[in-house]
């Protein structure tokens, strides 16, 4: 891939509102950024608009990575494929029976989630494998022929391109034979109908979770495929003739064609760039533990990086009750953004979000008819946002409308407009702080050992207060905070995850068998990585999940390098005991341990580009002052800086406000900010302030 570094590297982030592009000329270090309104009906349109705004032709692009929301949007909008679900006879209703629990205890009006398949399209096949892989009912030719007839009947009259097949048999994670035979048979019978197979998509136990994941894969397949095709055609038209990649939900990237083959992995493609970028900006200033805070107009995404490693999860839900078991970057989204609406609930307490004023009508201060107070209105009322310099002055804000909207809550709260505005900001900040606590304290991490990397339009404005609430002392604000997620797609490694569920008891353990299988997984994963475009020597990580016999949830334990032997297996079991004791406070020394899921991850590192150094020069002076409310006190002449003026190593003491095109950084009295060579701002939080 060395030749890739000769031209321009381009990262694209497709958001709900805007599509962002960051382009970096590898030789000159020249960076350009472009932003266009997203085009949800044909997402590639906005990407091409951005590409056309570049000051170089597409043929000079050497490297392109795209984060996309195509897959997740097709689920939210329910415009994916008509899926035919093929399963073990007698269990056709698994997607409809679901898990039997409810979203809330006391919400009688709640309705269970609608599956991604119609009940009439669920087809049973006579076959059955048991929990030990023993065949109880063999898969027969007659059964397959009947299945083909059932499918053909459904295909007649349906538009071919919109149908996809999903196969999920009971215990396929123990023995995939019947699934694979059925897959091959159906591919022969229906060569132009895509097939998703549960063993390939998610070889995990729990038939409903596997069904749900396989259905998602099939459901989004035609649209992801169509997106890849239209990107490919448009790129070729513009003279681009190389491979290009999509972001995966696991924070890695994969070649576009592979993404079309395993679309479930692109579900959170559009969200993972920010965390990858957060890790980069943390490491650049020597922080390997960071919390990423991406606060935009409607929501805030929080992720955690520990010791330079992004955390992953395989437990994620589209909505309550619709699980997807695939590797995801572990992150939380909170309905707290600049446009989040503040209101007084029926009990009389002030609440903020999750409902948002959106782009239309937007916050009251936009003057587009919105009259409900938002977080942005509160910030305007407090003097923290500059009404004349929002998005570089492109959008003119109306402070009087902001004050009026905020004031509409003051009456019932019995507080002044200023106190109400401060409370709105505090509640939004605390909602985010609580989510961070759950992502850290809730997982055995101490937030005080972390720095926050704050980006998105509103992240730098709120990060200092959130940091103080959770005991974080440092906030890192990358250059161009509005484009950090797009930049993150340029930093993504290639990454393939493989898992194998196979229950192994510690008293019946065969180290050689495990070792053979692990080596097989590593080979498979490495093969995939090559297919996805990596030519170097990959980094390898292995782990196994374990539990005491009888438990149903496992703890993940890393497997050190080297072959699995009787001795290293003993060490692994001891690592589990120690890990368990650390979390739960006791160990069960004489209990049998079960190993459940073996995981292999191979990573092909990419060389990370960096933002060019900013020009040296004298420290910038404030461009003006204005009156800003801090902690109940007005600072009449709070200095305002233009971020583009700041010099390397410049230090600014709070109170101060730093404005730039797409964001505002807020320094409270006692906080201080220093600027690094590449223009990153580091805010030191005064922990003594309340």
């Amino acid at each position: 891939m060395d030749s890739d570094f000769a031209g321009i590297r381009v990262g694209v982030d497709t958001g709900g509102t805007f599509t962002d592009l960051v382009a970096m000329d590898v030789r000159t270090g020249h960076v350009q950024v472009h932003k266009r309104p997203s085009t949800p009906a044909q997402p590639s349109d906005a990407i091409f608009e951005c590409i056309e705004q570049m000051d170089a032709p597409a043929s000079r692009i050497s490297y392109l990575v795209v984060g996309t929301t195509v897959a997740i949007n097709s689920i939210h909008q329910r415009n994916g494929a008509r899926v035919i679900y093929v399963t073990t006879r007698g269990f056709e209703d698994i997607p409809f029976l679901q898990r039997t629990n409810r979203r809330f205890h006391y919400d009688l009006q709640w309705s269970s989630p609608t599956p991604l398949v119609l009940r009439r399209d669920s087809v049973g096949v006579p076959e059955r494998i048991d929990y030990q892989g023993e065949v109880l009912i063999p898969l027969s030719d007659d059964g397959l022929d009947q299945l083909a007839a059932d499918i053909r009947r459904r295909l007649d009259g349906a538009a071919r391109g919109d149908v996809a097949l999903a196969i999920n048999f009971l215990f396929s994670y123990v023995s995939p034979d019947h699934e694979l035979m059925t897959r091959d048979y159906l591919r022969r019978k229906f060569p132009d109908v895509p097939v998703s197979v549960s063993y390939e998509v998610a070889p995990i136990w729990r038939e409903y979770d596997r069904a749900s994941t396989t259905l998602v894969d099939a459901y989004v397949r035609p649209l992801v495929h169509q997106f890849v095709q239209s990107m490919q055609a448009g790129l070729e038209e513009r003279g681009f003739d190389r491979h290009w990649s999509l972001m995966k939900s696991n924070g890695g990237q994969m070649l576009s064609q592979s993404a079309a083959d395993r679309p479930v992995q692109t579900l959170l493609s559009g969200l993972s760039g920010g965390i990858i970028a957060g890790r980069h900006f943390g490491e650049a200033v020597g922080q390997s533990n960071v919390i990423t805070l991406d606060m935009g107009g409607t929501s805030t995404d929080v992720g955690v990086v520990v010791d330079g490693l992004v955390r992953y999860t395989t437990e994620w839900e589209i909505e309550f009750g619709l699980p997807v078991s695939a590797p995801f970057i572990d992150m939380t989204t909170i309905g707290a953004g600049g446009g989040s609406i503040a209101f007084i609930n029926k009990g009389g307490l002030l609440q903020v979000g999750p409902s948002s004023a959106g782009a239309v009508p937007g916050p009251a201060c936009y003057g587009q008819g919105g009259d409900r107070p938002t977080v942005t209105d509160a910030n305007i009322a407090l003097g923290r946002l500059n009404p004349d310099n929002f998005l570089g002055g492109e959008v003119k804000l109306h402070p009087d409308l902001a004050v009026q909207a905020v004031g509409s809550l003051s009456g019932s709260l019995g507080t002044s407009v200023e106190a109400t505005a401060a409370a709105i900001v505090d509640v939004a900040n605390e909602n985010i702080a609580e989510a961070i606590r759950q992502m850290t304290i809730g997982r055995g991490l101490d937030p005080r050992e972390f720095a926050i990397v704050a980006f998105g339009g509103a992240g730098p404005l709120h990060a200092a207060a959130i940091a103080r609430s959770i005991g974080v002392e440092q906030v890192i604000v990358p250059p161009h905070p509005g484009l950090t997620s797009a930049f993150g797609t340029l930093l993504a490694d290639l990454r393939v995850d493989k898992t194998w569920t196979n229950i192994v008891r510690s008293d019946r353990l065969d180290p050689k068998a495990i070792d053979d299988r692990l080596q097989g997984l590593v080979l498979d994963a490495t093969e995939d990585l090559r297919r996805e475009g990596y030519g170097g020597v990959p980094t390898l990580r292995r782990s196994v999940t374990m539990r005491y016999l009888g438990q149903n949830y496992e703890e993940e334990i890393p497997i050190p390098a080297g072959p699995i032997t009787a001795e290293s297996a003993r060490d692994l079991l001891e690592s589990f005991h120690q890990h368990y004791e650390q979390i739960y406070g006791y160990r069960i020394a004489d209990e049998i341990i079960e190993m459940v899921q073996f995981n292999v991850t191979v990573i092909g590192r990419t060389d990370n580009p960096r933002f060019p150094e900013i020009e040296a020069g004298p420290d910038a002076a404030p461009v003006g002052t204005r009156s800003v409310l801090f902690d109940g006190q007005y600072v009449a002449d709070c200095p305002i800086y233009d971020r583009d003026d700041l010099a390397p190593d410049q230090k600014i003491e709070g109170p101060a406000i730093i404005e730039e095109l797409d964001s505002t950084t807020f320094l409270r009295p006692g906080d201080s900010l220093t600027v690094t060579r590449d223009g990153t701002a580091i805010v030191q939080i005064d922990a003594t302030a309340d």
């Binding site: 136990w205 038939e207 009990g347 002030l350 509640v427 739960y584």
Partner: protein
């Protein structure tokens, strides 16, 4: 709305923050419990609840796992502190308790409670209430469906110390382990409960480090007042008046036995009194309720009628008063058994409250749910492991139609909120093979808003012997509809013994007294059981359901062509291989079924 009194904006923010932190703590307790426990009833089904209490035994926050448990635990904790006295507790103590007559719910429901001290001063309590699967007694699985006295229902523990100042109280552990049939599971599950208490204690300490004891105590009290205020405000939207309803519990014996529950609800200016005076005397059977269970059923139903955002702390319970005369099925006295009161009678009480309130707030209620937990208990020695196992299996039921929507299919009864154990986990753990698990077509009550469907499973024994017990309800009297909606399908429990060619009731196959209450039946290899759960009742007249929706239901198999004609007045036929509506016949059916004097 306007009664925040002297509070400043800072206080308002703090209240929100602290309440979120308290809920965060109980949620983390729940995750710890789920991950560390041994029994699928906890790890998969989540049949436990975690609660924080103040020093005065007032509830500060709860997790949303099981409504029946959180309703009852208020009484347990109050009782426990009154009986043993807070002065007799020390840091590191853990007290356990499952006594139904001391505020408890039923015998399997074990409460562990740990006092939390801060700088030498008692702050409050962390508690976990969990349904333990095997507690000894006359039948495997802690569920003696045919018991006539509490002594048959398992090992009863009054409040006793499981831990003293952080050390095991070995005598109690030895008694418990000697009386439970699967002590290894009990040991693992009790430790998971203890781990959840430890994590909560640590988190409460961290919270107190930030805010201080006094501030947390003050704000907790304000939060309770706030919840109460909001609850009263919500209840004021219900028209004042007296509303009555009655329904019964049953035993599918020959002839069937019925125990009536009668309710009068008085709504008066933001307060509710639920009075069960006039209900049948307690019976020599397990469907009796403790006072805690009866009160829980009422709270649970009322909470479903008001804004779900009201914080569920002590204050939200204050406007509700429950009168349950001692010695009736709604307030059992020693030694009446009660294991099914929590699983079967609680949902019926919940439905009875909704039935009464349907006269006041028709748009907020639902028709009857399937109304039974379909308790199916079994145990034995696993042929592959040689170890003793015990399992408590239950099934979801259809829920009732609502004023704006159909009822949900296959959900846990309202007293709990448990997840079903996946087939793949079930078969890996226990020597059954499951041949089918599906929705029961036509089991939802017909209605403008159709009732949800129940489920059906067929299990086959793959061991020399499995000892089973079961407790069902709604086998005889079907779940009712509302406002012209029809009744749903009843539940059933059938067996096909190896060599037999059809499924039969347990009365037919084994000569049991009842089809719905069986204990200690020994199934043999090759025997099959069929577990069928009931559907939910319909809401509104089925002939008001748009014919297009009925067609969709038929296409998806929820409703048969016959039921579409007979109940919905919709004629559906096959035309050139397509299933279509016959508009003329449909109109004719629907005109004929229209009540006299009404026009469309």
């Amino acid at each position: 709305m306007k009664t925040n009194g002297e509070m400043s904006a800072t206080d308002l923010v703090s209240m929100t923050v602290i309440y979120n932190r308290l809920v965060g703590i109980v949620e983390e307790m729940g995750t710890t419990m789920m991950r560390a426990s041994y029994s699928p009833i906890f790890s998969e089904s989540l049949d436990f609840s975690c609660v924080l209490f103040g020093r005065d035994a007032n509830m500060l926050a709860q997790t949303e796992f099981s409504p029946a448990q959180v309703g009852a635990i208020r009484f347990v904790v109050k009782w426990l502190i009154a009986e043993i006295g807070e002065d007799n507790l020390k840091p590191g103590d853990v007290v356990v308790h499952n006594d139904p007559y001391r505020g408890g719910a039923h015998m399997p429901e074990h409460v562990v409670i740990k006092p939390v001290y801060y700088k030498g001063e008692l702050f409050g309590y962390v508690a976990n209430i969990a349904h333990m699967v095997e507690i000894g007694g006359m039948a495997v699985g802690g569920f003696a469906a045919t018991a006539t006295e509490v002594y048959q229902e398992g090992l009863r523990l009054p409040p006793v110390w499981l831990m003293r100042e952080g050390e095991y109280n070995h005598d109690i552990w030895r008694i418990v382990m000697a009386n439970h049939r699967a002590p290894r599971y009990s040991w693992g599950d009790l430790h998971a409960m203890l781990a959840s208490l430890d994590i909560a204690e640590k988190r409460v300490h961290e919270l107190l480090d930030v805010y201080g004891l006094e501030r947390i105590t003050t704000i907790s009290a304000q939060l309770q007042d706030y919840a109460e205020r909001w609850m009263r405000e919500e209840l004021r939207t219900v028209p004042d008046g007296e509303y009555t309803f009655e329904d019964h519990m049953e035993d599918a014996s020959d002839p069937p036995m019925k125990d009536w529950v009668r309710l009068r609800v008085v709504v008066d200016d933001g307060s509710v009194i639920a009075d069960f005076t006039g209900s049948d005397p307690q019976g020599p059977h397990v469907l009796n309720c403790t006072y805690g269970v009866t009160a829980s059923g009422v709270y649970n139903a009322i909470f479903n009628l008001v804004d779900d955002d009201i914080p569920h702390n002590e204050g939200s319970y204050r406007p509700i008063t429950v009168i349950a005369p001692p010695g009736t099925i709604t307030n059992v006295m020693e030694p009446g058994p009660s294991v099914g009161g929590n699983t079967e009678t609680h949902p019926r009480l919940w439905e009875i409250v909704l039935g009464a309130m349907s006269k006041a707030v028709p748009d907020r209620v639902a028709a009857a749910t399937g109304g039974t937990s379909c308790n199916f208990l079994f145990g034995g020695v696993h042929p592959h492991t040689g170890r003793f196992y015990a399992h408590y299996h239950f099934d979801g039921v259809g829920w009732g139609g609502r004023s704006h929507a159909d009822g949900n299919d296959n959900l846990c009864v309202p007293n709990g909120n448990c997840r079903a154990t996946p087939v793949e986990i079930f078969e890996t753990r226990y020597p059954f093979v499951e041949w089918s698990y599906r929705l029961r077509n036509d089991s939802g009550g017909p209605g403008e808003h159709r009732g949800g469907l129940g489920s059906e499973r067929v299990l086959e024994v793959r061991a020399p012997e499995i000892n089973v017990s079961a407790l069902y309800d709604r086998m005889v009297s079907p779940p009712w509809g509302l406002f012209g909606g029809g009744a749903a399908a009843t539940s059933s429990l059938l067996v096909k013994r190896a060599g037999d060619d059809e499924f039969r009731t347990f009365r037919e196959a084994y000569g049991t007294k009842s089809n719905s209450r069986i204990a200690n039946i020994k199934l043999k290899r090759g025997d099959r059981v069929m577990l069928c759960s009931s559907g939910g009742g319909g809401f509104g007249r089925p002939t008001d359901r748009p014919a297009e929706l009925v067609l969709e239901d038929v296409l998806d198999g929820y409703v048969s062509v016959e039921a579409a004609r007979d109940f919905y007045g919709v004629e559906i036929e096959s035309s050139n291989g397509e299933t279509v509506l016959n508009d003329d016949k449909t109109e004719a059916h629907r005109t004929a079924s229209r009540p006299e004097g009404e026009s469309w």
